[in-house]
């Protein structure tokens, strides 16, 4: 009886996600905001509150976060990360400072506690590398000369996440200044060791995990990621970072095949995660913070466009390219919700509704801006060059 209702609820939730996903694909937008909306609908205070499947969804959401970061890590190799760190560190720092500032400012103005303020900084900071990479591919901009700049910034943001998440986890757990710095030290040490292991023994790890049988490969990689995530959690480093590091350690053929077999699993559990976040957000609390979310969206759109444009101009890219690079950095998505989710589940409730409203706005508005800025700036450029060329004499 009980399990029948569980299946029924899960089926209804996942099926409605598929309908929302189809709709998002038709209007060429990220499905993330719609998944959040679905969560709001099914949650406490929503229209169709779920009765029994919440616990399952909560575990599924945790796996979703681990898979999101595992696949993110699979995109990069340790070598790429090190090269990027060396050559683009200054752009990365500017990005971090300029884009976390609005979130931090709002947190202070709302009189939040420090952990929630730090979390809100993360919510406005991180660009969704998933959405950005998909946009670059969809719009045929992989060959564009500003694209390496965008990708480098994304890599740095992801790497910053690996340092930021453990710090945030420690702060949210309420450890004091001393305890906090110990945790941070452990986090930094773990990440350094993991990077060194990946650089030195990556080949061996890859050899041990590789299998031409996709089932064995799936079980091996997924199992390792869960195991390391669990260990990281025990060390207070955050399970997400553990999974990210496993992803980085894997490269070559293993990474290629793991991406293929794990992507559907990631899509399923990440969707569950977005629903879970929506479930835990009280929809009645969104309207009061909507105004703040809109202002925050406007301000952080400007800051992201500026940082992306600035980084592109340093790489010698002309104006239209700078604008394209800037707008490509605007969309927020999965990790902003991961961050807000961590804060909300640690008892800082105020951040949930604001982050949900903010991410919904950005995940809809960002890709649209990116899509339309190309043709618009192209048109403006044509008009400008036309007016610049001297009129025919005689």
């Amino acid at each position: 009886m009980e399990s029948g209702i569980l299946l029924l609820e899960l089926g209804a939730v996942i099926l409605s996600l598929s309908i929302l996903g189809r709709f998002a694909a038709r209007v060429q937008l990220s499905p993330i905001p719609l998944y959040l909306l679905a969560g709001l609908l099914f949650g406490h205070g929503g229209l169709l509150p779920l009765a029994t499947s919440e616990e399952f969804i909560s575990v599924g959401a945790e796996i979703g976060v681990i898979l999101l970061l595992l696949l993110l890590g699979l995109e990069y190799s340790a070598d790429e990360l090190m090269v990027n760190l060396r050559t683009h560190a200054s752009s990365g720092v500017v990005d971090l400072v300029v884009n976390s500032a609005p979130g931090i400012a709002v947190g202070i103005m709302l009189g939040w506690e420090l952990p929630a303020i730090v979390a809100m900084g993360g919510v406005t900071y991180a660009t969704s590398s998933g959405i950005a990479a998909k946009l670059l591919t969809d719009l045929g901009r992989l060959g564009n000369r500003e694209t390496p700049v965008v990708l480098s910034l994304l890599v740095l943001e992801d790497l910053t996440m690996a340092l930021y998440l453990p710090i945030l986890t420690a702060l949210l757990a309420g450890v004091g200044l001393f305890g906090g710095s110990v945790t941070v030290l452990i986090a930094v040490a773990t990440i350094s060791i993991a990077l060194i292991v990946a650089l030195k023994y990556g080949r061996l790890i890859n050899k041990l995990l590789f299998s031409s049988d996709s089932e064995l490969l799936l079980l091996g990689v997924f199992g390792l990621a869960l195991l390391v995530a669990g260990i990281a959690q025990q060390l207070q480093v955050s399970s997400a970072v553990g999974a990210f590091l496993v992803g980085i350690a894997l490269s070559g053929k293993v990474a290629e095949s793991a991406r293929v077999v794990l992507s559907p699993l990631r899509d399923l559990f990440a969707a569950v995660f977005f629903v879970f976040f929506g479930l835990h957000t009280d929809p009645t609390q969104i309207p009061p913070v909507l105004g703040i979310a809109v202002v925050l969206a406007l301000v952080t759109t400007i800051t992201k466009v500026w940082v992306g444009g600035w980084a592109a101009s340093r790489a010698g890219i002309a104006r239209p390219g700078q604008l394209r690079a800037g707008t490509m950095m605007v969309p927020r998505g999965e990790f902003n919700i991961v961050i807000a989710g961590l804060a909300a589940s640690a008892g800082f409730a105020g951040i949930g509704p604001l982050a949900a409203a903010y991410v919904m706005l950005m995940a809809v508005f960002g890709p649209m801006l990116t899509r339309f800025v190309g043709p618009i700036s192209g048109g403006v450029l044509k008009v400008l060059t036309r007016t610049k060329s001297p009129p025919p004499t005689g």
């Binding site: 060959g143 694209t147 290629e256």
Partner: protein, 165 residues
């Protein structure tokens, strides 16, 4: 890869995706190839007004990219030219030695103005027993080079006169 060092190919790493190679053609168009780590290739052509943007990209599988490369490859072209001159009665291939001390010893290929003056094409240069295919106008000639030309009989005779100057 290329036997001609004068083309400056830019290599850029695309983190998470692969590599991009591009260069500007002698006519000022930028073309490039994005090599995905999955083996997929993208042929990209850049905008003339906005040099940072590509106007079009064609996605190719590994095999399709190989096929395209084969048709663009110089060996293939030379092969086809050889058969072409057999097929077309008024088109011929002829070798012209550049003797040391000749007028063009030390000059570039462009200085000969062979193509503009005669209509014949220089398809390759033989130097030290090696064929340098599709030489560009800024290729430096020395004595003991041999030019391989394709053209009509009249054009080739005219080339002989130019080189004998």
């Amino acid at each position: 890869m290329s036997s001609d060092e004068s083309i400056e190919v830019t290599e850029v790493a695309l983190p998470g995706i692969g590599l991009r190679h591009d260069f500007v053609t002698s006519k000022g168009r930028r073309v490039g190839v994005v090599s995905h780590r999955s083996g997929k290739r993208e042929l990209v052509i850049y905008d003339q007004e906005d040099p940072d943007a590509c106007v079009d990209s064609v996605t190719l599988t590994g095999d399709e990219a190989d096929t395209l490369a084969e048709y663009l490859g110089t060996h293939r072209v030379m092969e086809r030219l050889a058969t072409l001159s057999d097929q077309v009665s008024n088109l011929h291939t002829r070798k012209f030695p550049v003797s040391s001390g000749s007028r063009y010893d030390g000059k570039t290929l462009g200085d000969t103005h062979v193509r503009t003056r005669t209509g014949a094409s220089i398809v390759a240069i033989l130097r030290d027993g090696e064929a340098i295919a599709s030489p560009t106008p800024d290729f430096g000639l020395t004595g003991n080079d041999t030019l391989i030309l394709v053209g009509t009989d009249e054009a080739l005779s005219a080339v002989g006169e130019i080189l004998a100057e």
